[in-house]
């Protein structure tokens, strides 16, 4: 059996976040080196602040400043920092209860090693040089044996508050199409289209998935289909997609290759887009070094009768 294909798949997007009033004040405060919590009706001060009381569900908005010094309530050593983490050298993840707060904030502690970290140790904020209104405005925490710092008495009102942030997210996957699609992709390199026949309903799946979704049984019998086929339905795409290098308008079609039990999708070329029709007989057009046919073009055969493909739309 041939080796199953694998490839990296990176999913990355700059998501935006509207902050709402409480997070807006908190992040704007960090920009100004002021740490704000929120006071609940029973007098607790929550840092980082939340919009709704976790106990009573009440809306919260009574902002209160706390000190940039605090106490580690628990920690974990991170020996191998990864991309995007607060420090590039080994550090401790810490929960810090800032002086004046009743809850703890998660951040990084810059310490020489795990022996230098303990629950109950005193720490203070090390501010980032450039601050934009983000949690990274706190570069990290650092050990501190001085006096408790006093708040500045800030009200939580700021000029030019931060109302939104961009939260870039990235996920790194290793994608594998699996055994059946690997065989399909490998056959395409010889310009052959291979499907798999379901042993139960006898339908030929192209591309194959290794199992029949209707019968729920594994498929393995290899069946070559095409190369010709019938356009069963289509649309004319008039808007250009960002990551797609295809000139518009183009025809995106469902094509039932001869012998296939369902249609696959492809682009139609070699004919004006407004002359493409259901029932058009087509064949693949290959280009050098491409995994898939570049497009399908008319064969010149008479159109297929609707009844021959109406189950394959």
């Amino acid at each position: 059996m041939s080796v199953v294909l694998k490839a990296p798949l990176v999913v990355e997007f700059p998501f935006t976040r509207s902050l709402g009033p409480v997070q807006s004040a908190f992040l704007t405060g960090l920009r100004e080196r002021v740490i704000l919590g929120v006071r609940t009706r029973d007098g607790r001060v929550l840092v980082p602040p939340v919009e709704y009381d976790p106990v009573t569900a009440e809306e919260l908005g009574d902002l209160v400043e706390v000190a940039p010094t605090g106490t580690v309530t628990t920690w974990a050593w991170n020996p191998a920092p990864r991309r995007g983490q607060p420090l590039t050298t080994p550090f401790a993840w810490v929960l810090v209860r800032l002086d004046g707060a009743d809850t703890a904030l998660l951040h990084a502690l810059d310490a020489p090693g795990p022996a230098a970290v303990h629950t109950g140790m005193r720490v203070r904020i090390r501010w980032a040089g450039e601050r934009t209104g983000a949690i990274t405005d706190i570069a990290c925490f650092e050990p501190y044996d001085g006096h408790r710092a006093e708040p500045t008495g800030h009200t939580g009102e700021f000029e030019d508050p931060v109302t939104g942030i961009v939260a870039a997210a990235r996920l790194d996957y290793t994608y594998s199409p699996g055994r059946a699609q690997t065989a399909y992709i490998n056959a395409l390199s010889g310009r052959r289209t291979m499907g798999e026949r379901c042993p139960s309903c006898r339908k030929v799946y192209v591309p194959p998935r290794g199992a029949c979704p209707t019968c729920g049984v594994a498929t393995s019998e290899q069946v070559e289909v095409g190369p010709r086929g019938t356009v069963t339905t289509f649309c004319i795409v008039n808007i250009k997609a960002k990551n797609l290098d295809i000139e518009v308008p183009y025809v995106y079609a469902h094509i039932a290759l001869d012998g296939a039990g369902l249609a696959l999708h492809g682009r139609i070329g070699g004919i004006p887009y407004d002359e493409v029709r259901m029932g058009l007989r087509v064949e693949p057009v290959w280009t050098e070094d491409a995994r898939y046919p570049d497009h399908y073009r008319p064969t010149g055969e008479p159109d297929a009768d609707y009844d021959t493909y109406k189950e394959l739309l």
Partner: protein, 388 residues
């Protein structure tokens, strides 16, 4: 033991718009939940459990947002669960909540669905660059347009039907203060003249991208008896699924949709939906899905759905009004869209739909679908309890 009857006693929506930059996700869901509580004249303490739904996490990039939204929804110390069935999720979320009441697991349940489309890009979220696959298409419009063409071929419908649906739904939206699109100068000519995006789908025949949330309070008979306003009663509810693609799949009228509707009608004792149902809120993200779903839902025979649209039967003052609220074509916070259909159906039988109220609506269908026409969820609500 028979099931507990389920009543809708509170409904709340945010005012749906393109971007709610003034609120966080928490602030958005809170708004809908508070309005539902106010409608029911209940407080957080009266809620026994919370059932929440939204479309894929990639749409905002917050993984498992229900965890962080527990505070905003008063769910701390209570059961909270998330439902996940793509675009149909708003409907299936309501049904999961309803089943908790019907099974007497909980007396009163808050159910809520939301989407804040402005925080991301759904077209991107639906078109990830999967290795070894040929990129051909972006977004949902290109996916659904060929199926619409197949319907047109199969039914012989005139090309104008889609525009008629869009024109109707956008006019209905003018009567709904919560709708996203309020196109006061809409005309049929303007719809017809709008650009073809994915021929046969025109720009004006597609749904907008919205930020919004919708919430409902569902309760049992005892809860309904205490309700300050008339409840809506669930007469039937069902969900069905099928694969996205399989040999023999009928994209024009999927089997799962037909089966789901048949199950709802059986539960409700409906034998002639066209005559016995007074209106429907149907998930129509592209105009042509109105006639397609009219057939799939049994309101018209195969190939006949467009005739109802053409004859004005589905207009607000027609014999079978469809999407009185303006529908998905006027408001589409994806995850919430199904629940808005369910809630709007309930508003109608409660007599509380305001300017888009259908006089004397006694039984109204709420419908949602999602994925590649693979998830279906529906309920039928009435102005009287079942078996009364």
């Amino acid at each position: 033991m028979s099931k507990e009857p389920v009543a809708v006693v509170g409904i709340g929506q945010s005012r749906h718009v393109a971007a709610r930059r003034d609120v966080s996700l928490a602030g958005l869901v809170r708004e809908a939940a508070l309005r539902a509580l106010q409608d029911a004249e209940l407080t957080w303490a009266d809620i026994d459990a919370v059932v929440i739904g939204k479309a894929p996490d990639f749409f905002e990039g917050v993984m498992m947002p229900e965890l962080y939204l527990a505070d905003a929804l008063g769910a701390v110390g209570k059961p909270m669960l998330r439902v996940h069935t793509a675009g149909s999720v708003g409907g299936s979320t309501a049904l999961v909540a309803a089943n908790l009441v019907a099974a007497r697991v909980h007396g009163t349940v808050l159910t809520l669905a939301f989407e804040k489309q402005s925080e991301s890009n759904a077209m991107w979220g639906l078109s990830l660059p999967i290795p070894f696959q040929q990129p051909l298409l972006a977004g949902a419009g290109g996916f659904f347009a060929p199926h619409i063409r197949a319907y047109m071929r199969r039914s012989g419908a005139p090309e104008t039907i889609g525009a008629l649906v869009a024109y109707k739904d956008r006019r209905n939206a003018l009567k709904n203060p919560y709708a996203h699109l309020h196109e006061h100068d809409i005309t049929l000519d303007k719809v017809m003249a709008s650009p073809m995006l994915w021929d046969p789908v025109r720009y004006s025949e597609t749904c907008p991208s919205s930020d919004g949330a919708c919430a409902m309070i569902l309760t049992d008979r005892a809860g309904a008896a205490r309700a300050p306003r008339p409840p809506a009663w669930m007469l039937g509810g069902a969900m069905r699924s099928e694969p996205t693609l399989f040999a023999g799949k009928d994209f024009v009228s999927p089997q799962a949709g037909q089966d789901c509707a048949a199950d709802v009608y059986r539960q409700a004792g409906i034998t002639d939906p066209r005559r016995e149902i007074d209106g429907a809120e149907i998930y129509v993200p592209f105009s042509w899905y109105e006639p397609m779903w009219l057939e799939n839902l049994g309101f018209a025979g195969e190939g006949e759905g467009w005739k109802l649209t053409e004859a004005g039967v589905t207009e607000l003052d027609g014999d079978l009004p469809v999407n009185m609220s303006g529908g998905v074509l006027s408001t589409n916070p994806i995850g919430a869209s199904g629940m808005i259909r369910f809630a709007e159906a309930a508003l109608q039988v409660r007599g509380q739909a305001g300017e888009h109220q259908v006089d004397g609506a006694r039984r109204v269908l709420g419908h949602a679908y999602g994925g590649g026409s693979q998830f279906f969820s529906m309920w039928l609500v009435g102005d009287r309890p079942p078996d009364s």
